[in-house]
Symmetry: C2
Subunit: 141 residues, 2 copies
C-alpha cells in the first residue's frame, strides 16, 4: 500500500501527462494555449466580457490580454464592440468562427479521450468518473 505522499506524486505526474496530451489535440494548430483559453472563457460564459475581466480570469496583465485579444480579433475569432453606456469599455464576444473552433477542439479532445475510455472496463470508467469529481472537489478548496 502506497503512502499518501506517494499517491500524491503519482496523481501529480499522471495529471500533468494527460493534460499535456489533451492540450496537443486542437482544431486550429495555429491557436496557442493562451489564445484558446480566452476563446474557452468566452464560450463557457456565453455573453460578452471586457478586457479587464478576461485579464483577471486568466491572471495575466491587461496589456498581455490586449495583445492576445488583438491576435484573436485579426484571426476573426472574436470582435470588440464599443459599450454604449460606458464608452471606455469595449465588449468582447465570440464570432461564429470562434464558437466553431472551440466546439471543434472540444470535440476533438473528447473524441480522443472517449476512444480510450471505450477500451476500458465499465468499472475502470466509473473509477475515472468518480476521480474527476474528486479532482474537482480538491481544486475548489
Amino acid at each position: 500500500m502506497a503512502t499518501i505522499a506517494e499517491q500524491s506524486a503519482e496523481l501529480r505526474m499522471a495529471t500533468f501527462r494527460l493534460a499535456r496530451r489533451l492540450r496537443a489535440q486542437k482544431a486550429d494548430q495555429a491557436l496557442s494555449d493562451a489564445q484558446f483559453a480566452v476563446l474557452g472563457v468566452l464560450y463557457r460564459h456565453g455573453g460578452t466580457r471586457t478586457l479587464t475581466e478576461l485579464a483577471e480570469q486568466e491572471q495575466v496583465s491587461a496589456p498581455s490580454m490586449n495583445r492576445t485579444v488583438n491576435c484573436l480579433e485579426e484571426s476573426g475569432y472574436l470582435v470588440r464592440t464599443a459599450d454604449e453606456v460606458d464608452r471606455r469599455k469595449s465588449n468582447i464576444s465570440l464570432t461564429d468562427a470562434g464558437r466553431d473552433v472551440v466546439k471543434a477542439t472540444i470535440t476533438k479532445r473528447d473524441a480522443w479521450l472517449t476512444t480510450r475510455l471505450r477500451e476500458l472496463s465499465k468499472e475502470d470508467r466509473a473509477t475515472l468518473a468518480r476521480a474527476a469529481e474528486l479532482m474537482g472537489g480538491i481544486i475548489t478548496q
Copy 2:
C-alpha cells in the same frame, strides 16, 4: 448514469484544472514552465543529456532548447561540459542548485496535494490512486 462522452468531458476539464493549479506551485517563481520541464527531465534522468536529446524529449526545436538551456545556465541551475569523445557535443547536467530547485518544487506540489488527499476518505484516495494508474495507461497508448 453519464455517457462515455460525458465522462470524457468531465475528466478532461478536471485534468486541466488540477494541472493548472499544480503548475502554479513552484519553488522559484522566476522559473517558467519550459525551464522547469527541462530541469525535471534532467532530474528524473539522473545523468547528462545533450541539447538534441532535450529538444526531442520536450518536442521543441534545437534553437528553442538552446535558448532555454542558456537561461538555465545563466541562472546556475545547469552546466554544459564539452564531450571528450565527440567534440561536437556538450553534455548538460544539473548543478546542486538545479537539483535543489526541482526537489523543492516537487515537495511543494506534493505537499499541497497531500494536504488535500488527507482530507479524503481512504476509499476516495484509493479511487484517485487507481485513476492515476488508468490515466497513465491511457497516455502510453
